[in-house]
Symmetry: none
Subunit: 243 residues, 2 copies
């Protein structure tokens, strides 16, 4: 349907896949709009991982490796875009994979869990309770899952959950293409990169890093510097784009 000679072929195929996932209910309509917002910022990154995001991904791996109880929180967009990458990161990191949704219905949770399991992930499900101090449905999580986690990876977060998790004393790793977002600025560590590029980098680093390197990366973590670098990269591109 999309002509292969279209200069934006890959991006259009991704959009079509997300639209399909919206029709089936895995992705919410707000999820489609969020994806578009992400596309704009990725455009400003030149649709590639910038140097500081490489370093941030290694730091994320270090946080996961040194965690007592790491959890990867998955929403509809993440499952639709990167179920396979989530499964591979789980294998590399040993983290729990748990579904947590803003637009939550039992049916959507089950659908998304199926997408993840089909991609090879071992999904932590079971009884959810309203455990996080949030007024919306992201409050629902599992006592032995996200609630007890010391490190939580939240790809494609777009709400106020990140701040709440940080206030609960958890280390939060966000993957967010917008370096100005509340999530990007409240997370312990933000990887400003596209999710299907960032997740394999974290997985690779989980395997490659030595224990000493992990300790060093964790103690020198400076999220503001990561955000500043991503912003500089976008500014550079915006400035020179017409040259």
């Amino acid at each position: 349907m999309i002509p292969r000679d279209h200069p934006r072929y890959r991006s259009l195929v991704t959009r079509e896949h997300l639209a399909e996932c919206a029709r089936s209910g895995v992705v919410s309509w707000e999820g489609l709009i969020s994806h578009g917002r992400g596309e704009a910022f990725d455009y400003l990154l030149g649709e590639k991982t910038c140097d500081s995001a490489h370093r941030a991904a290694r730091t994320a791996a270090a946080l996961l490796r040194t965690a007592r109880h790491p959890v990867i929180s998955v929403n509809g967009n993440t499952a639709a875009l990167a179920a396979r990458e989530i499964a591979l990161l789980q294998k590399a990191s040993g983290a729990l994979v748990e579904v947590n949704l803003f637009h939550r219905t039992q049916e959507r949770v089950a659908q998304i869990e199926t997408v993840l399991r089909d991609a090879g992930a071992d999904v932590f499900s079971g009884e959810a309770e309203r455990l996080l101090p949030l007024s919306h449905d992201r409050a629902w999580c599992r006592r032995e899952g996200m609630y007890s986690a010391d490190v939580v990876l939240v790809p494609l977060e777009d709400g106020d959950r990140c701040g709440v998790l940080v206030e609960m004393g958890k280390k939060v790793i966000a993957i967010d293409l917008n370096p100005l977002s509340r999530t990007a600025r409240t997370a312990t560590l933000t990887i400003v990169d596209e999710v299907t590029r960032a997740l394999p980098l974290i997985a690779a680093a989980c395997t490659a890093l030595t224990d000493g390197e992990c300790r060093d990366l964790v103690t020198t973590l400076d999220n503001r510097a990561f955000l500043r670098d991503a912003q500089d990269e976008m500014t550079r591109r915006l400035t020179h784009a017409l040259d």
Copy 2:
């Protein structure tokens, strides 16, 4: 449902309206993604019309006023967001209004024509033919409409049609929040602004400009300068956001 005092009230109401239009079929699911992209760039503009966009809108009016056969091309997002503004611009400019869709079905064309007519536009419909040299469904247009136009206004274009229209010798006016997009860069004139802000500015200028002013604006048109100004505006905002 959305509290009126919410700081993002307008943006949230617009999203909800677009989602409704997606459910009814007027807006494609991909259209929601495009909207998100626009939102991100509008954020970088501070959600207001920058000085150069004001000048670009006046220039657009001059192009429409001096055209032999101006056509406004409308897609699903434009109809959903700005049907009334399109109708008012038609009245001010005398341009034909024609529906042209990337995700084209007879039913969607008819639905969007109804939205436009309900808003007071006089829609040019009738038999479409595959007349533009494009491999996708945007190739469909009317011989006496867009195909014969000398000036075409394409709000919210997101494909490769703009280049094709320019190659056919037409003057293309784009409204595009992304100053780096192919459309923005290949159009004869790009207004880097949100569509419901830009269209009334063009309509007002259609009425206000003298013939002499129209000629001056057309002969001094420098799209690169317009794009550069919009880009500078966004760069300024991005640079100072973390300060």
